[in-house]
Symmetry: C2
Subunit: 423 residues, 2 copies
């Protein structure tokens, strides 16, 4: 029996009852002979309440102080969890990100982990303790200031600790049963995935699946740490994310892992761009300099008679204003006709490593959408993913149609509630 | 203009409005040319809410984890205060007790400061920042664990930092205008004291005055740091506590500084103790071993005919049960008759260095009580204090009578609200 890192999100420790339930589960793992390190998020809405408080005293809270503020949330939940575990008769010690050796860069509010020096954690568990670590936070290498890792940061803390401690598995406990073939709120017959490869999980995460964040999966893949996503409210097996299915988890790789959808993006079309070298570069340099992250990019061949072309791209709705402003400023230099902004779009993605060796997948995907009467506005593909942009109103119908067409529907309706993972 | 340490209690930073008001006051001190270090308590009821949460997960929360939990409170208030100050256009940085170099022993929940190494604070203020420090907390020399200093700990943090940084003054901001000649809730004509010596303040603090805790005043006296207790809600001068009145604060030393009362104690009388050497020692050894702190001790001469004597002492009501249990256990060994427990008592104390050289004070004190029809149950004196125990019901009347008798009444009714200082 080796070392297990368990991570519990905010919804799992939302109140005293939740903390006691988590404590029991942690103790069970210890009783089974594991060394246990627990990473915990802030309780329920604590973080949002702190953000609200910050907004009341300052319209633009400073990064360093904002991080100092937010890290209070995990401090509360980790101390309470340690107390609850001790109350069950087991030794426990809680550690801040700094005490746990989570070293980050100095980018406040979205720091990146650059090293983990888990000496105190190792000592603590070797002395028989269950170690509780505050998720989402670290300490900067320069300046020794408290930093936070941004949304989903606790999952990354857990995976990074699992890597540094050479853990057997990193268990991510959340309020859903695992990763599903589609969002169960949209597709009643969505099925829990028993095993999924890192690669497919990365594509799902960047296509709108919210169970695991891209960054966390990327970290796990780099250090080859198996992730087990499961519910803290049941004893069921969840979804294993790893390089290869192992042990009694041997399952056949599915051709298609799942269907993801994302309605958080908007589309900008730059109309009438002179079709000559350097124009696209100028446009995306302007966007990049404004700090906006873009997703899909599509450029159609230009109509030969005009010498003009249209370039479309998608980006988070929240960054729409910034991108439009940046483009308007460069309008005369670039020389395009106009900008179209459209935030009533959805992105539908089909993900599966099997599509590499199954040539009919793309055609079947488009046929399913066509049969459902859904118009496709943009298309973009990777080796193991096809994404299309449709009208936002068509999103749910599109996901259901594709899910059925690829034989992903379960025989019975699943009774699950699907939600976020805290952070 | 030198360095000023300001401390704000929980009631001063109870909400966003309070934090913004404090920020303005801090900035004013900076604008006046001072270097400013601010020590801040947790917001309003935060600490009590955290204690309540701890009680929900564990009946007896562990010391180390309890401290980790409670220190979240100051983390929140200090970060918010730093943000609010930055929002006024001034540079500010917040520091935990550990970052500020507050080194303590390892006694969780009531640690004592054993050293302050304020290197980071010094650097921060020398760079032009206002430094905000979390009160009430430190880090243990051994083990580097987070500790808390117990009730009133933030005041001690402020005085300790003031000493380590060689500050001009330590300003303690609270929700009252200063130290009064008696509790203004009881004595309408109580007057604010402009200046009081460390010695008199120590006696008042140990006699029931709650504005400053004994430990904080003791620390200030040892390092000769003037304390200025004042309201965070007004711009008024408060009460200076120092060795000698200085500068324009020259005031004559009053014969009597004030009248304090305390209704938080109970009285235990050990009846029928054999009047021979070692009996009192055995009784108080039993009490001490149970961890109970006692206050006044009175033993009457024994009635020659019986060879038995009675020993009475006072102690905090909260520790009554423990003391009785400890005494019952040693009953046969000590050989007393019975125990009497009485929690309907009040302690009335008259404090003033002037009584050393004014022989009539004791007589006048007893006459005032007698004229008010108050019966005295116990008497105890120090060089600059006389305390008596009366019935709890007589407390307010006693304080008023003594206050008037010693000419402490103001000519006008003061319009102040008197309350606690947070921690």
């Amino acid at each position: 029996m080796g070392l297990v890192v368990q991570k519990y999100g905010g919804s799992s420790v939302a109140d005293a009852e939740g903390i006691k339930r988590v404590a029991k589960r942690v103790v069970d793992a210890k009783k089974n002979g594991h060394q246990v390190v627990v990473v915990v998020s802030a309780m329920g809405d604590t973080t949002d309440e702190l953000i609200d408080l910050a907004g009341q005293v300052s319209p633009i809270p400073a990064g360093r102080e904002f991080d100092m503020l937010l890290t209070a949330g995990e401090r509360i939940s980790m101390a309470l969890l340690a107390m609850a575990i001790k109350n069950l008769g087991h030794a426990a010690q809680s550690f801040t990100g700094s005490q746990a050796g989570v070293i980050t860069d100095s980018v406040h509010n979205k720091a990146r982990i650059i090293d983990v020096t888990p000496g105190r954690i190792r000592t603590s568990i070797d002395e028989g303790n269950i170690a509780i670590v505050a998720g989402f936070q670290g300490v900067s290498q320069e300046g020794k200031n408290i930093t936070t890792l941004g949304r989903g940061g606790s999952d990354t803390t857990a995976v990074a600790l699992a890597a540094a401690l050479d853990a057997e598995v990193c268990e991510i406990y959340t309020d859903v049963d695992g990763v599903f073939t589609a969002d169960p709120r949209v597709v009643k017959k969505a099925q829990k995935i028993d095993w999924i490869s890192f690669e497919d999980m990365l594509e799902l995460a960047s296509s709108g699946s919210k169970v695991l964040l891209h960054r966390c999966v990327e970290y796990a893949r780099r250090y080859n740490i198996p992730i087990h996503v499961r519910s803290s409210f049941s004893g069921l097996q969840g979804t294993w994310v790893s390089n290869e299915p192992q042990g009694d988890r041997k399952v056949e790789q599915a051709i298609i892992s799942g269907v993801a959808h994302d309605t958080s993006e908007a589309k900008i079309t730059v109309v009438g761009v002179p079709d000559k070298p350097g124009e696209a570069a100028s446009i995306f340099r302007a966007i990049a300099d404004s700090g906006v992250n873009i997703d899909m990019i599509v450029q159609n061949v230009s109509a030969a008679s005009t010498g003009l072309t249209d370039i479309s791209f998608t980006l988070p709705k929240a960054e729409g204003r910034k991108a439009i402003d940046a483009l308007e400023k460069t309008r005369s230099a670039i020389g395009f006709d106009s900008l179209r902004y459209d935030d009533q779009i959805a992105k539908i993605s089909l993900v599966g490593a099997g599509m590499k060796t199954n040539p009919g997948v793309t055609a079947a995907f488009f046929e399913a959408l066509s049969d459902a009467g859904v118009n496709i506005e943009l298309i973009s593909t990777s080796e193991i993913r096809i994404s299309v942009v449709t009208r936002a109103d068509d999103a749910n119908e599109s996901v259901r149609a594709v899910h059925t067409a690829f034989g992903l529907d379960s025989d019975t309706d699943e009774a699950v509630v699907y939600g976020g993972t805290g952070r």
